[in-house]
């Protein structure tokens, strides 16, 4: 399949993907707020066609060390999903969830099964709520795989989700949602939620919404 000749991505298409991201993010924010008992906001997503290096920049640069959760999407759609958090934010979330103030992702020997499970569960809940909203909106069947966790450099983690796309192109459509914990003093971004549909799925999404 030759993407570039078959599919011209217009601003309208990107707007449709943005709407999808919006709906998914709203559901995911609600779930995350309930889980953490804190007000979590997800900003209106940014949707863009970017180079792979620019994609890493969105998450702080390819060498930036983060807690990354990766899962694949299967069913009518295929793609990759990443939940990328700075170490500090991930620590704060997991300490709250498991009630262990010593928990620290930057000391690998101390992470333990409970911390890993808690982080994976966070990924499960976020992606599940995001994707069920997406599924309701498009009428497509979408299933997330079990999430997998890695504490490493952004480039090393996120490039794994770009492998499929890289067969077709050197650019990727990224639906990037910023996660912000609402706090009176601190409005810093806590993390990113990336949805990267595999190129053949672009058409599936657009057709399901009647824009192709």
């Amino acid at each position: 399949m030759r993407m570039k000749t078959e599919l011209n991505i217009s601003d309208m298409h990107l707007d449709v993907l943005k709407e999808i991201g919006n709906i998914g993010a709203a559901h995911a924010a609600t779930s995350l707020s309930e889980l953490l008992q804190r007000k979590i906001d997800m900003h209106v997503p940014k949707v863009a066609l970017v180079s792979f290096d620019d994609m890493f920049e969105l998450a702080g640069g390819s060498e930036n060390v983060v807690v990354g959760i990766f899962l694949r999407i299967e069913g009518d759609l295929s793609g990759s999903m990443f939940f990328v958090l700075p170490i500090d934010s991930a620590n704060r979330f997991i300490r709250r969830l498991i009630g262990d103030p010593q928990f620290d992702f930057s000391t690998p020997e101390s992470i333990g099964e409970i911390g890993i499970s808690a982080m994976q569960e966070l990924g499960n809940i976020l992606s599940g709520s995001y994707l069920s909203a997406l599924s309701d909106f498009t009428g497509l069947k979408i299933y997330p795989t079990v999430p997998s966790l890695s504490v490493d450099m952004v480039g090393a983690i996120v490039s794994f989700g770009l492998i499929e796309v890289s067969h077709y192109s050197d650019e990727v459509i990224v639906i990037d949602t910023k996660i912000v914990e609402e706090d009176e003093n601190d409005k810093s971004v806590d993390g990113h939620f990336f949805l990267l549909p595999d190129p053949p799925s672009y058409i599936t999404i657009f057709k399901s919404l009647g824009v192709m």
């Binding site: 030759r2 180079s51 694949r72 890695s150 480039g155 090393a156 492998i163 890289s166």
Partner: protein, 164 residues
């Protein structure tokens, strides 16, 4: 007069060439493989950040040669030849090819090890000796090569920096 050192950066699916005193660097290698070809005597080196094993996997309209092990290494060698390097005097050092996650779509799970195999195959085909490697595992790497001394620095999140 003191020479100013520049660090030349190589992005993902990208390549470049440096001469001493400059160094060349690529960051956040996961399943990708960083391949360095260098001439010790002329103190010149090229680096390519390979993402996929074989250009026959490309399904796009145009091919970015730096993305694939076969076309990437070959065109890096060609670029070095233009700079006056004889292929006979080239040596290689490589790093990367991790298996970052235990699942993926189809063939992508083992993409790291497959990239390493493809890189070695292409180096063998071009008769370029592989003198050092730090490959495999499940961790990311940032690498920097210094053509003045021929060393490749490999940095990981958990085990710090080492030289190969």
């Amino acid at each position: 007069m003191e020479m100013v050192k520049t660090v030349v950066r190589v992005g993902i699916a990208d390549m470049n060439i440096v001469r001493e005193p400059d160094t060349i660097r690529t960051s956040g290698l996961g399943s990708c493989v960083g391949v360095v070809l260098y001439d010790e005597r002329r103190k010149i080196a090229g680096m390519v950040h390979v993402m996929l094993p074989d250009s026959s996997l490309g399904k796009g309209d145009s091919i970015n040669v730096a993305k694939f092990a076969d076309t990437g290494i070959y065109s890096l060698m060609e670029q070095l030849k233009v700079e006056g390097v004889r292929p006979m005097s080239l040596k290689a050092k490589i790093a990367g090819g991790s298996q970052m996650f235990q699942f993926g779509s189809g063939d992508t799970v083992r993409i790291g090890p497959r990239n390493v195999e493809a890189v070695k195959k292409e180096l063998a085909r071009l008769s370029i000796p592989l003198v050092a490697e730090d490959t495999g595992g499940s961790n990311g790497r940032t690498i920097e090569f210094d053509p003045a001394v021929g060393t490749l620095q490999v940095r990981t999140v958990n085990t710090g920096t080492m030289e190969i």
